[in-house]
């Protein structure tokens, strides 16, 4: 395979390795990680250019010749399904003059045709034809892979989640995901058919803040008491998310004790928050129909294990978060040092009753859209952080709560107290520094 990065030479970083290392201490990071555009450029090249990044889900391209376009860091890519059903991730860049060959978000096409000189590419990225081919050397030029849409260096799929790495070397996806696969399994196993699908469109919100604010937040239970206080009723319970069902108990008044909930972290910076603070499981005829379909497939005991909520948000560093409770996946797309786009995809559990999946789509309006009542609280604090970090009065952003990593955890990694900030410490001190110094992650600074 040809490395996508061959196409553009690496820039010489204006920031030295010694300087990068000085920006991160075991329990704190320099404010420049959120505010320095040069560091942002280097992150796009060395973090998003090395780590396994979530491109999408293979259900977004269900049929041959279906495609979606997205970005990996700054690089425009197409995820497509070829005539034989294989999924590809290729650069959205004509081999001739560099144009984006596909200008739409999604669709279906046998050929991506460049509007400039008519070079035409198949749904696997290979060049199908070029007008006046003889001037480029005829049939040999058409067959030359260098004249195709360049594939990403590595692509791999776990339970439908399509990942790409722009680097030809590094850990395998399996090695990279390690213990966080239990969270992906926890979500996908809830589907009676054992598969999920991204259907129901995509809710997109813009945060006028650095992308890491969203990632930091994904393993932060403690903030809910303060950030989301306006969503609580007098009894400390959050508004009902969709016409009844379990309500989140945050209890701003009596200050809920988050410590027993726990937080779990893994190598490569992944982690999850302990169980969501819900008092009851869902109920009602649709839920019962759903449960019966799981029981038919797996029996009572296994169904009970599948349905228990032992984790809330999960984070796969550095590109997405997801939760089974809210039944969605959120992809983090850095735009600029102080601007990030988040794409929220509702998740359909294949084999579940239609009405069950439809309710999940509907409830995202209240919880995670740009106009929702929960996500907007988070957006506001991320943006307030970005503005506060313009202050040069204090260089440091702290992740010092609950020193150490806690106990060893049976899924791999560690489990810390609910308000421990150790997962962020793993992200910065063991991964961000490693990537930014040209490494492949998971190395102690």
């Amino acid at each position: 395979m040809t490395d996508i990065r061959e196409a553009c030479a690496k820039t010489t970083p204006r920031i030295s390795e010694a300087e990068i290392r000085a920006l991160v201490r075991p329990d704190r990071i320099h404010r420049r990680l959120y505010t320095d555009p040069d560091l942002f450029d280097l992150e796009m090249e060395r973090v998003f250019g090395q780590a396994w990044i979530l491109v999408g889900h293979d259900s977004q391209v269900p049929k041959p010749h279906d495609f979606v376009t997205t970005r990996i860091g700054k690089e425009p890519v197409i995820m497509s399904r070829d005539a034989n059903g294989a999924v590809h991730v290729v650069a959205n860049r004509c081999a001739h003059r560099g144009l984006q060959v596909c200008a739409t978000e999604s669709g279906s096409t046998r050929h991506f045709k460049c509007p400039y000189h008519g070079w035409s590419y198949r749904s696997d990225g290979s060049l199908a034809s070029m007008p006046n081919a003889v001037s480029y050397g005829g049939r040999d030029a058409i067959a030359d892979p260098a004249n195709g849409l360049r594939p990403v260096a590595r692509m791999a799929i776990y339970r439908g989640f399509v990942f790409a790495s722009l680097s030809p070397t590094g850990p395998s996806l399996d090695e990279y995901l390690n213990g966080i696969k239990t969270s992906i399994d926890d979500l996908v196993d809830r589907a009676p058919d054992g598969e999920i699908a991204f259907v129901g469109g995509c809710s997109r919100y813009i945060v006028r803040a650095n992308w890491k604010t969203q990632i930091d937040n994904g393993v932060d239970l403690h903030h809910a008491t303060y950030t989301h206080v306006s969503t609580l009723d007098a009894d400390g319970r959050q508004f009902s998310r969709h016409g009844g069902g379990p309500r989140i108990l945050i209890d701003g008044k009596r200050s809920i004790d988050w410590e027993p909930f726990g937080v779990v972290g893994f190598p490569y910076g992944h982690g999850y928050q302990g169980r969501p603070p819900v008092e009851t499981l869902p109920s009602g005829p649709i839920y019962e129909d759903y449960v019966s379909r799981l029981v038919a497939k797996h029996g009572e005991e296994r169904t009970k294990a599948i349905l228990k909520y032992d984790r809330f948000n999960s984070v796969v560093y550095p590109s997405f978060t997801f939760q089974a409770f809210g039944q969605h996946v959120r992809i983090v797309r850095p735009t600029a040092v102080d601007k990030t786009e988040i794409r929220v995809y509702p998740v359909a559990l294949k084999g579940a009753p239609e009405a069950y999946n439809r309710a999940a789509i509907r409830s995202l309006a209240a919880t995670h859209s740009a106009a929702s009542m929960i996500q907007t609280d988070d957006i506001e604090v991320f943006e307030r952080a970005q503005r506060g970090l313009a202050s040069t009065s204090n260089d440091w952003v702290l992740f010092a709560g609950h020193p150490g990593k806690g106990e060893e955890w049976h899924e791999g990694g560690w489990r810390g107290s609910g308000t421990s900030e150790f997962v962020s410490r793993i992200q910065y001190a063991e991964n961000w520094v490693s990537y930014m110094c040209g490494g492949q992650g998971n190395a102690v600074a």
């Binding site: 129901g200 206080v229 306006s230 509907r362 209240a366 740009a370 009542m373 996500q375 609280d377 957006i379």
Partner: protein, 167 residues
């Protein structure tokens, strides 16, 4: 399109005045009074697709029945609603108002209109929204109640910075 007969039947001036008053309640932040304009099963909806038929076919920006609306309005009055400190000042322009000559079964009157909304919070850049409204109204005493207010933003399928108040 609009027959003279239907224009007579539903005085377009009365409909306009209702929509303008509704917009003013939002601009003046009388959210509780505004919510009272809706029928008991009334809905405020801002979809993410131009041709969206239901809030369950695709995600929505807003989908507030009266229960969710009450929760949202209550939250807007909370002393720690961070997203409204400072508050949003808005101006809603409602224009191109048409009455559908053939209203759907679930409404006495269907109204189409175009809108522009300016929003400003201190220390931030002003934000602009534009799109089309569809109202399904029911006659109520001498006036109307809203069974549906659907706000389809021209960029509804795009990405938005956070929205705290109704469009």
């Amino acid at each position: 399109m609009l027959s003279l007969e239907s224009a007579r039947r539903h005085d377009i001036r009365a409909v306009e005045q209702f929509l303008f008053a509704e917009a003013r309640l939002l601009d003046e932040r009388h959210f509780e009074e505004w919510a009272e304009l809706f029928t008991e099963d009334g809905v405020y909806w801002a979809p993410t697709r131009h041709d969206q038929k239901s809030p369950e076919e695709a995600v929505s920006l807003f989908y507030d029945d009266r229960v969710t609306m009450a929760a949202r309005v209550k939250r807007l009055r909370h002393p720690d609603v961070h997203i409204q400190i400072p508050i949003s000042r808005t101006t809603h322009l409602v224009t191109n108002i048409e009455i559908d000559p053939v209203p759907p079964d679930d409404a006495d009157i269907r109204v189409f209109a175009a809108f522009m909304v300016a929003e400003y919070r201190e220390n931030a850049d002003p934000r602009w929204y534009a799109g089309r409204y569809e109202y399904r109204l029911k006659s109520f005493g001498a006036g109307f109640r809203i069974a549906l207010k659907k706000a389809t933003l021209v960029n509804c399928d795009g990405a938005f910075t956070s929205m705290a108040v109704y469009i």
